[in-house]
Amino acid sequence: MAKTQLEELNRNIYDIKNKDDYDFKIQKGLTREIVEEISKRKNDPGWMKEIRLKALETYNKLELPTWGPDLSELNMDEIATYVRPKTKLNSSWDDVPDDIKNTFDKLGIPEAERTSLAGVGAQYDSEVVYHSMKEELLKQGVIYTDMETAVREYPEIVKEHFMKCVPINDHKFVALHAAVWSGGSFVYIPKGVKLEMPLQSYFRLNSPESGQFEHTLIIVEEGASLHFIEGCSAPKYNKVNLHAGCVELYVKKNAYLRYSTIENWSKNMMNLNTKKAIVEEGGQVDWVTGSFGSKISMLYPLSILNGKGAKTEYTGISFAGEGQNLDTGFKVIHNAPNTSSVVNAKSISKNGGKCTYRSLVRINENAQNSKSSVSCESLMLDDFSVSDTIPVNDIRTDEVEFSHEAKIGKISDKTIFYLMSRGLSEEDAKAMIVRGFAYPISKELPGEYAVEMNNLINLELEGAIG
């Protein structure tokens, strides 16, 4: 049988490169002047400018992480942290410039908006270029807008929550984010309002040697319910791009939030992202994540279960191909009695790709009668790919149920032969096995995203077998 070999993948729609045609691109690097310039151009109120400058100081004091993937290739002197596209925020796709609109069209965003979403936000480089929501939600008091509008129109809510769930000194890239953040979505779901259809924000980074630092802030009030979807992608360039977004989720008493992500950054992207949720009594946050892109990812969503009976589930899959180092996982802090967490993490590595599952389960003294069950499974498609599991379990009370299960496997020649004896080519056989492996995750996604995830799997496997 022919040996496995990697062709340059045709990432078709994801790789559409528009001309780097911006309205304004800040000079590369990170200085006080640059941060002040961004703040000025964004018409920040004074308090926000203060946060930025303080964050810059924090950034300069903090060291790079001493663990995980090597980040030495990232040079902030080579990154432009703010790129304003040649358009304002629009509420109609007709007003979005053609090249930008075409990109989102090909990514299927306006189509999904018509058929299955309650609202859509679309960010291009550093600014949100489109935001819209169904009118009936407006009447129910739902707020879904870009972060800049929220700072302007709801300063009290933003002040109370911005960089409070994720503290600025959490790590170096959080501090960087707070200093140069731009774009992102703000969602407020009032008490008791349950959204039938999801809201979706899509983040597209087109400009080379630049960064995207969107901020997503979601508040789901008591008894309310929301499914939020974020998608992200970028065309591939030869030099490093940076993504350091920040997601802060507040899930109030008996509220429910599902946060789904399909991440398909290009393979020159450093994805150093931070996501946290604070969950109050009886509330629940579920994370569903598919990570396919980026050169390096470091991303470990955290659920803090602060109220009695709060729950969280993490369902995630990462897929690392040649040259990719995806260091992902999940963290949970049980901080109240009767809380529960369920983790189902999977990873696939091929062509020398590296997947690490890094996790923390902390069950505090006050979290009696809590439950946590963790299952992680890795699939390696060849002998030179790498998979690793680094769990930290910090259990501080005896009255808990805790289980952790980890499996690392390969596709056996016997299985491939079995499928080939049913008429499937070797490539089809592998794709079928991988799709089946990913199925427990993809079934958690809404229909068209499950399809997109299968397409991404096929795309990743395409041409991989000679």
Partner: protein, 246 residues
């Protein structure tokens, strides 16, 4: 038109550097049921795998012609698409892929035609009822958590759905209770017609009771030492293989 479906000539095969088959000749015509019997380790499973060109088995000589075409070095999936099917001794488990989706996909690959899902599921359920299978298993992951008997019946189901020209059943009866063996045997009867053929590999006589067997080959130490009719089955049942060993 020749009636000849499979013609194996002087086949020599190694598994893990060790010679297992030492010059096998075997001809199967359309409409026939053949049986290969032999003690453990005689090369029965190797023969089945060699026909489908499993890369784990290395051919060192000889040829296999199927339906007028040399398939000796053809890829397994191409051989399958030409109409050869093998029921596995130990069917593989495929988590996350349902029986229905798997078979729909395989049927499409084997026939090269699109498969209509609702019609196909009905067809599948009918076959499952015939084989005393639980039709709700149609949505379960292929072979995952199936009992030994369920796995074997699932292989027969696949045979019926994919409708090959030649079905090779490798120890499909092993480990099955009497009822399950009857069901498998019924499945073979349903499948069999004048245009296809079956090659049954076994060392159990019971599966053969209800079938009209045309030829029985006794395989000892990588060679077919005798070929005959039904009478050989009775003979082996009474006396074992000792007579055929040197």
């Amino acid at each position: 038109m020749s009636n000849k479906l499979l013609e194996i000539k002087n086949l020599n095969v190694n598994a893990e550097e060790k010679q297992i088959l030492k010059g096998i000749d075997l001809t199967i015509n359309k409409g026939e049921i053949h049986v290969i019997m032999g003690p453990n380790g005689s090369g029965k499973t190797t023969t089945a795998n060699a026909i489908l060109n499993n890369p784990a088995y290395k051919k060192t000589g000889g040829s296999i012609v199927f339906d007028g075409e040399d398939i000796t070095d053809m890829r397994t999936d191409e051989i399958a698409r030409k109409g050869v099917f093998m029921s596995f001794q130990l069917p593989e488990e495929i988590p996350g892929v349902s029986v229905a989706n798997f078979l729909k996909y395989a049927k499409n690959k084997v026939t090269g035609k699109p498969v209509k899902i609702f019609q196909f599921k009905d067809e599948l359920k009918k076959y499952m009822e015939d084989l005393n299978m639980k039709t709700e298993n149609i949505e379960r992951s292929l072979n995952v958590g199936f009992s030994g008997g369920e796995k074997k019946k699932n292989e027969i189901l696949q045979m019926l759905v994919l409708n090959p020209k030649l079905a090779i059943l490798d120890e499909t009866d092993s480990g099955l209770d009497v009822d399950a063996i009857k069901t498998v045997s019924k499945g073979i009867e349903m499948f069999k017609n004048d245009e296809n053929a079956v090659l049954i590999i076994t060392h159990n006589m019971r599966i053969l009771e209800n079938l009209k067997v045309d030829y029985v080959h006794v395989l000892i130490d990588g060679k077919i030492v005798t070929t005959g009719g039904n009478e050989i089955i009775k003979e082996i049942e009474a006396n074992g293989f000792s007579k055929y060993r040197k």
